[in-house]
Symmetry: C2
Subunit: 154 residues, 2 copies
Amino acid sequence: MLSTEQIIGVMSAQGLRITDQRRSLAKLFAERDGYLTPKDVYEYMCKEYSGLSFDTVYRNLRVMEELGAIEQVVFEDGLKFRAGCSSEGHHHHHMICLQCQKTYPIHFCPMPLTDAPEEFQVVKHKFEVFGYCKNCRKDAAAEKEQAAERSGVN
Amino acid sequence: MLSTEQIIGVMSAQGLRITDQRRSLAKLFAERDGYLTPKDVYEYMCKEYSGLSFDTVYRNLRVMEELGAIEQVVFEDGLKFRAGCSSEGHHHHHMICLQCQKTYPIHFCPMPLTDAPEEFQVVKHKFEVFGYCKNCRKDAAAEKEQAAERSGVN
DNA sequence: TTGGCTGCAAACTATTTGCAGCGCT
DNA sequence: AGCGCTGCAAATAGTTTGCAGCCAA
């Protein structure tokens, strides 16, 4: 995944100005390795840089996405962003934790094994696995126990 | 895929009233075998049933989705709906035409071949292939030629 | 008859855009 | 100094909700 400096480098190289907000954005995406909603981004950045407006977040997310510094994915509950990782070399897919939003690479790609029927001309594909990662699995189990206890008592 | 009568049956069985609008919706989804946006649905239904409001479309799409009469998927360009097909028996995936939105089933599922790293607990997965189907492939090729001619002349 | 369904209008959420002033380069 | 970036406010797109009248059962 890209580091803070790499993200800033990408932006700078394309002629963008490096403002405090953008530095802060770069740092955020480099620190986290999961998906963030525009709201997550806004809330994080407000801490570091108060007086921030939502428009700036949207504008910068879009610019950074167009430059390839970050990647954008549509989920059922809206748009999310993460630091670029397709630049990391080979094509790959992700396992995504439903709790913490972190992602784990899957190097296996099903496309070569998939038959395209009726002369279907393949352009792109999406393969995503959702579930709970090692850490959140524990959390989820603990919560379930608590829920069971509550309903058992009541 | 479900037929008009099957869709109406599902709704009726769950205590919903069968109104003209709902009959029209059922017919639409039974006729098409691709994804439709709420706007597509609205435009089609206006022809058959004028005086229709957008709210009714949204309300009915939601109800039908909750009942399992139709299925909902999020794409980059928004929500789309199609007649239920997971009821068709075995688990499967889809190839989706970027032009006409029709879908073709893929019976191959990559999940059994995918290793879950680090004790990742898999809950669900998504595997979708996008491209152009037999018919739209021709259309796309024809358009490309036209575009090439235009740019070649100018 | 009557409670569910519809159209209308308004509210809401998420995102985009116009504009004037500030600040990176 | 100059132009890009930002905040503010307003516009826009997509979707949901409240309410009163209408209609399938």
